[in-house]
């Protein structure tokens, strides 16, 4: 262990103080913390709209007006996608961890990093403005011609999404360069922690997909202002072209959300089972191939848009292709657990929760990728449940996993495992109670985005609503658990989980410039020797 750990000196949290020292900080660790706080605040807002939606659906009769309901689900979706899920793990944990894991003193462009954060705040300001002006009701997908002609406050919402895109692009650019150029001596690409592989692939998608949504939103804004007739069929334009543009970004972006989650799980599953990751190369390669193939499947959102059957069949086929690298990952994680010394702690609970939830999310994607079954399931609650299992369940459980796992490093405090484990189980049960009924209702034909429904769906919808309220409660418990640790938690050692990647080599919390001396990477991040070497030799 490094001598850094024993020094009692200033760290990045207390080196300077005051609002300005944080707001204008270029320190990637402070930026990561600020992102995390901002993202969680917007998660609370987006989550409140989700609660509102679920409250409306408690019984078949309408409580909210149809237009207010439209606004509630639009704001829920738009806030969750643009302000929460896209930056959720990269901007918070990614920012905090990438230089630490690389053994670098900061990212390659610290000022650009700060700029990304300020752009994020600026974009968020537009979303808040949208809220204050009375919301927007187009759905987060902004489909034309409704969004180009009608709808409410579309312009502020579009501007917000457009601006947030730049934050995302610049973060991605920063991370790609950082991972390429700032690895510690000895850290070859094959010794790169898998979290960094995930961040690398994510960043590439951010750089290559986000500009397409940017130009799409610009065209949509110009369409709304000037009526240029590119998307508006009444002027001779093509509304389906908008859908192509939109999904060319918005499908890859689901990998911007989920690949970092894969990265987190790849770290926690191995550290907390004390076993070398199974199939390091396979996981790294599947990360890149998901990123690449993810660019070629956008048409599966448009099976019923009127695109040709041939195109539908091709998109369907390529979409099945994404299942292969994803399955490689899930199988590798399970193989990593096999015969490992599993620690039944909070982090492991969420990791296992993620494996369950994401596997359901992944498998239910297959009937949606199949043309014949999608015709039945399209725009039903089955789709809603599917993408909540992947996006929300997958990403959120991984984010919580990562927050717990790196919490000691970030804050210098240990959280209560005694409370953490039951909360994790509670969250997991509530989560499944929310969304499994949605699969059933959707499969029986309950359409999405309706504020009232036929009485036969009432049972499932009520179960789902109750589940969602419990899930909301469980998340407050998580928050309480973590905040409690800041006040009452024990001081964390430098390396509480006996990790081998470089972020555990520096002090907890890290010093201002991460490392006193340049760390040198000698062993891979997963070369644990807890599981008896003797046993391994004997087994041979």
């Amino acid at each position: 262990m490094n001598a850094d750990a024993t020094h009692d000196e200033s760290n990045y949290l207390n080196a300077t103080s005051g609002f300005k020292s944080w707001f204008w900080s270029v320190d990637h660790k402070r930026l990561g913390i600020m992102y995390l706080a901002t993202i969680l605040s917007f998660f609370l807002i987006g989550g409140s709209f989700a609660m509102l939606v679920r409250y409306e659906l408690l019984d078949a009769a309408p409580t909210l007006s149809a237009s207010n309901y439209n606004k509630a689900f639009t704001l829920h979706g738009a806030i969750m996608v643009f302000l929460v899920l896209v930056p959720a793990i990269p901007a918070s944990l990614g920012n905090f961890l990438i230089p630490l894991m690389l053994g670098a003193k900061d990212v390659a462009f610290p000022k650009l990093n700060r700029l990304s954060f300020h752009i994020y705040l600026f974009g968020a300001f537009f979303f808040v403005t949208t809220l204050v002006l009375g919301g927007v009701d187009t759905g987060w997908t902004f489909y034309t011609p409704y969004s180009s002609k009608y709808g409410t406050n579309v312009i502020t919402a579009l501007s917000g999404a457009f601006i947030l895109g730049f934050s995302s692009i610049l973060t991605g650019l920063n991370f790609v360069v950082t991972i390429h150029k700032m690895r510690a001596p000895g850290m070859t690409w094959t010794k790169l922690p898998l979290f960094l592989w995930a961040m690398y692939a994510t960043s590439l998608i951010q750089i290559l997909a986000t500009p397409v949504i940017a130009v799409t939103l610009v065209l949509l804004m110009v369409e709304r202002f000037l009526g240029i007739g590119i998307f508006d069929p009444a002027l001779g334009g093509d509304p389906v072209l908008f859908q192509h543009f939109f999904w060319f970004y918005s499908h890859p972006v689901v990998y911007v959300m989920i690949l970092p989650a894969f990265g987190v799980i790849s770290e926690t599953v191995t550290i907390h089972s004390r076993k070398h990751i199974f199939g390091y190369t396979a996981i790294a390669a599947s990360t890149l191939s998901i990123a690449a193939v993810g660019f070629l499947v956008w048409g599966h959102h448009m099976f019923l848009s009127g695109q040709s059957e041939t195109m539908g069949a091709i998109f369907s086929f390529i979409t099945f292709g994404v299942a292969v690298p994803t399955a490689i990952k899930v199988c590798s994680w399970i193989a990593t657990l096999y015969k490992g010394k599993i620690r039944w702690n909070t982090v492991m609970m969420y990791t296992l929760g993620f494996l369950w939830i994401f596997t359901i999310g992944g498998l239910t994607g297959l009937p949606l990728a199949t043309l014949s079954t999608d015709v039945h399931l399209h725009d039903t609650y089955f789709v809603v449940a599917h993408f909540h299992y992947t996006m929300m369940g997958g990403v959120l459980f991984a984010l919580i996993t990562g927050m717990y796992h790196w919490w000691p490093k970030m804050t210098g405090r240990m959280f209560s495992e005694k409370a953490g484990v039951p909360i994790a189980i509670f969250a997991f049960v509530a989560y499944n109670l929310t969304f499994i009924p949605q699969f059933i209702a959707g499969h029986r034909g309950m359409p999405r985005r309706y504020h009232e429904y036929l009485p036969q769906f009432e049972e499932m919808m009520q179960l789902s609503s109750i589940g969602s309220f419990l899930f909301g409660l469980s998340l407050f418990c998580v928050l309480f658990n973590l905040i409690h640790s800041l006040v009452k938690g024990e001081k964390a050692p430098a390396n509480p989980w006996d990790g081998l990647s470089l972020e555990w080599e520096t002090a907890t919390p890290p010093i201002e410039h991460n490392f006193h001396d340049q760390p040198i990477c000698t062993v891979g991040p997963y070369e644990f020797d807890d599981i008896d070497v003797k046993d391994r030799v004997a087994a041979k």
Binding site: D106, V177, T216, G229, A234, L241
Partner: protein, 249 residues
């Protein structure tokens, strides 16, 4: 944030081990940025492709009617190409400035500033010519979408604002003719490109100012190279826009 090693140059950021690492990081960052620029423009070109597929005859008819000024577009192409040359020469001068201040560094720095100003000047010429093109179009009414009001090639607008297509001399409506969409594409694409030129002028002048302060030398000039890369991309995009819009028939 000061450097931790006292012997480190002021332009050498503390988180990079060597200037080489710093410079190559800056360049890689710029290439990544250019990649996103290309993808941004790809959306516009894609809209162009789809609309041209739908309204192929409109694109040739625009040219038959001589609605875009080929001479002006041609001159602008030459202006931009020349500005790319002056930019490339400016990068060369920046590379030649010795680290230690002497007569030679002054000479190269002066040349660098001069070439940067030339580049910015040519970019302004481009914008002035573009201004004349735009004002002519505003004058005759070859404007985007619903603002289109060109009398010689009118479009039929329904009472609900729907545009059905061009009105032919015999009074029929030609739904395959959409000059209003062509000029939407023209203004959106050249406008986005023009915005990039304006930003280019800004950053080139900023470089000239920094050069005047004596910031660049053979060890530290990634900013000049990066703006150069950006400028060449802006030039390159015009090389595609010009034939696609002006010469397509």
């Amino acid at each position: 944030m000061s450097s931790e090693n006292a012997d480190q140059k002021p332009y050498h950021a503390f988180f990079f081990h060597t200037m080489d690492q710093q410079n190559s990081s800056h360049k890689l960052g710029m290439w990544a940025f250019l990649a996103q620029e290309l993808l941004f423009f790809s959306g516009l070109f894609m809209a162009y492709i789809v609309m041209r597929y739908w309204y192929a005859d409109t694109f040739t008819e625009v040219q038959e009617r001589n609605l875009l000024s080929i001479p002006m577009g041609f001159v602008n192409t030459l202006v931009l190409l020349t500005s790319s040359l002056t930019m490339a020469l400016a990068v060369r001068e920046a590379q030649l400035i010795p680290v230690v201040e002497n007569e030679e560094s002054k000479k190269h720095r002066a040349k660098l500033i001069k070439l940067l100003l030339w580049t910015a000047g040519l970019a302004c010429v481009f914008l002035v010519i573009k201004y004349f093109e735009y004002s002519h179009k505003i004058h005759v009414g070859t404007l985007p979408g619903t603002f289109y009001s060109f009398a010689e090639w009118p479009v039929f607008t329904g009472s609900d604002g729907t545009i059905l297509g061009a009105i032919r001399p015999n009074g029929t409506i030609d739904v395959n003719s959409a000059p209003h969409i062509f000029f939407s594409l023209y203004f959106v694409i050249t406008g986005t490109h023009g915005l990039h030129v304006v930003i280019g002028v800004g950053v080139i002048l900023w470089l000239a100012l920094r050069a005047k302060r004596g910031e660049f030398n053979s060890e530290y000039h990634a900013a000049v190279e990066n703006v150069g890369l950006y400028w060449h991309l802006v030039d390159l995009i015009w090389i595609f826009v010009f034939p696609l819009m002006y010469l397509v028939a």
